[in-house]
Symmetry: C2
Subunit: 290 residues, 2 copies
């Protein structure tokens, strides 16, 4: 099976991230000179930060695998990155994780205050919706990934669970929603941009579901063993929460990730060479914490 | 000029509010039994509360004036009410107005906690976007009313101004964005649902711009002279802010409202009898604080 070499994948990701970031820059353009400066500064601070743009790159890779037009997929890629950044700002708030560090920088509310952070997050989310307005189906897909059955449902469940030992189905619910939902939407949006068949949509959905969960597990492992200088966020902030490491241990988590990555790659196996980029992305997630 | 009698307007508003609330109820339906109960309860608490649904009714009245289909306009009416409720939740947060009372009830964050209030607000906003997904133009219109050039821009400017004496252009900026933007979007969405001409779109835009500002001024007056049992929110919370009453006095505010309501009615004068409902709505706003 064809898998892009690590170096080729790096180039692919860098190019994708650059294209997405060009759109994000345009999304930050200010048309009215009376718009409060702090609102613009806050959005820029959170949005333009080091990152692989993994969700956005997933949009592009899915679209290109399914012979879609990269130019049509780019706004959708920008949309998921806008939404992702918005959700990180909210997760970090004092009333939620009360985090100090994100993407290697002081968290937004500690720089620009809580109210501005909340309002910047909502504005970024709004910009995310604007970027999918060309397609009713894409908008429904993005909305589902955000709302009660997506990021927000997962975040509320996560906060509710704080400090208590979780049943496995609750832990899976939290991660499927906090992390999985936006990965799945990314893959779907790429497929929708390519005008994919229902069968191909289902394939990338399964790919992304497995990839998202694997990503979350590697996150849990990194939170235990990772260096904040590398992860760019506070270490051990999940201390009070049930994590996959608590349930499966580090070795068990690695085995679970292996299974999920194999399942992700299996779901797109019939696409052969065209799936090389998605396979390489999955392998990169597998190696994140090793 | 035809103006609906007060009683006929009350009936129109009650019927519109009931139709809109039927859609809001459906928007609160939960499809997944694992969705955290508190998330559903928080959204219901804030959304289903006494209120005239003035913005939603404006959508319907504009659509019907321009011979649009009420059924097509209803989701847009629900959208502006979802967005309006979302913005009220955020305005009331401890990091913003720190309000205790809204729509005659304890504010959401004091009942369900700050994190749940923020997340419920974002979920309601997301549902608002879902309700306009049939039209790319409607979505752009709603997004503009929310983002940097709308509610959020106005709210950031308002918080920034807290405690300082404002220039008149800054005061106008704040109100045009915090209140005006969603009124204008309501009128535009009604016109879009009716497939209106650009000329009619411009007419209802001018109507709503004047109505929104008049509404804000009556709000300022009510905040000084109003009874919390009637207004349903804390009295005198705007004490530290420059209000229209500070700048123009109560009498001057009344005169300004008269001018704005006359301008609102003037913009739709050529529509004759068909504009009777919008004229009656404007007259109702004129009398709010008298």
């Amino acid at each position: 099976m064809d898998v892009l070499e690590a170096e080729a994948l790096k180039v692919y990701i860098r190019r994708g991230a650059a294209d997405i970031e060009a759109l994000l820059e345009r999304a930050l353009d200010v048309s009215d000179e009376m718009t409060p400066e702090v609102l613009c500064a806050a959005q820029r601070y959170a949005l333009i930060a080091p990152g692989k743009r993994l969700r956005g790159v997933t949009v592009l890779a899915c679209a290109e695998m399914l012979r879609g037009d990269r130019v049509k997929a780019l706004p959708f890629a920008a949309a998921v990155e806008l939404v992702h950044t918005s959700s990180l700002i909210l997760d970090d708030l004092p009333s939620m994780d009360d985090a100090t560090l994100r993407r290697g920088k002081t968290t937004l509310h500690r720089v620009h205050g809580e109210a501005n952070a909340i309002l910047a997050a909502v504005s970024l989310l709004t910009k995310g919706f604007e970027h999918v307005r060309s397609s009713s189906r894409a908008l429904a897909c993005l909305a589902r990934a955000i709302g009660d059955d997506g990021l927000i449902g997962g975040q509320v469940a996560d906060l509710e669970a704080d400090g208590s030992v979780l049943e496995l189905d609750r832990l899976e619910y939290i991660h499927a929603h906090k992390t999985g939902a936006l990965f799945i939407a990314s893959a779907e949006l790429g497929a929708l941009a390519a005008g994919a068949s229902e069968r191909d949509l289902e394939r990338v959905r399964i790919y992304a579901k497995n990839l998202g969960l694997a990503f979350q597990i590697t996150d849990d492992v990194l939170d235990v063993v990772g260096d904040p200088a590398v992860t760019g966020k506070d270490a051990g902030t999940d201390r009070d929460r049930t994590t996959f490491v608590d349930v499966c241990g580090v070795e068990g988590s690695h085995r679970l990730v292996d299974e999920l990555i194999d399942a992700a790659c299996g779901s797109i196996a019939t696409l052969g060479k065209r799936a090389a980029t998605l396979r390489a992305l999955a392998e990169m997630v597998r190696r994140r914490d090793r």
